[in-house]
């Protein structure tokens, strides 16, 4: 009887835990179904904006009108823009 209860408990624990073979979600990843996305801000007004050096993408149109993207070798560094103009960043993806 005790062994049967232990077996049931063990099965329940496995079911409640992460399904085998599934990687645990990274903190910045989307939530698993039923969980809420962490939307807490990581920056606040008055803080220094984290610096970055990122490649610029430009679109070029060839003679036949085809548009292709080209990545510039030179990177844009946020800190190198200081003293010039305010900067407005929109982080986004297509989807």
């Amino acid at each position: 009887m005790a062994a049967a209860i232990a077996a049931i408990l063990a099965v329940a624990l496995v079911v409640a835990g992460t399904p085998a073979g599934e990687r645990p979600a990274r903190p910045e990843a989307a939530p698993a179904p039923g969980q809420r996305l962490d939307m807490r801000p990581v920056l606040a007004p008055g803080q220094m904006a984290p610096d970055f050096g990122l490649a610029r993408l430009t679109l070029e149109t060839d003679k036949s009108g085809n548009v292709t993207g080209k990545i510039a070798t030179e990177k844009v560094k946020l800190s190198s823009l200081r003293g010039q103009k305010p900067v407005c960043l929109f982080f986004s993806s297509y989807t």
């Binding site: 990545i71 982080f91 989807t95």
Partner: protein
Amino acid sequence: MAPAIETLYAAYKDKVQFFLVYVREAHPVDARPGVDGRPGNPARGDPNIRQPRTMDERSRAATECLKGLKLTLPCLIDNIEGTTEKAYGAWPAVTTVVDIDGKVCFYSRGPGGAKPKEAETALKQLLANDGKFAGAAPAPSAEKPSPRSDAPLPSAEPKAAPAEKAPR
């Protein structure tokens, strides 16, 4: 979202440096559970975009993004590790206005979090103050953003800052 940020860009591009920072896709058609958002469904009109795994793929996806949304503002591409995305908490979306000295003056996070109207208000305040952040506007709620627990505390600075010249 897209037309609104493009309108803002057109109105202020002479006075403000704009960038679209292209980060990992929120709803690619090949979305992985627990990593990406729900998969996009091209049959319902979602863009048919797979999650880029290399910088080449990412630049192609960003090109599709600029073309598809008819965006002309300058575009930067985050690396595959998402270094900048993580530093800004920029997933799935974030808008940040930075003053002329590099300080954050406006930050908005969340799906549909581009908040172009609020960003414009922040830009107007900046431009009226020589591009410098003049302090946060009184917030409607007393709730403060919670700093990440892994963020270094200001007091944990290991090195002493170089001695500043005394103000005259």
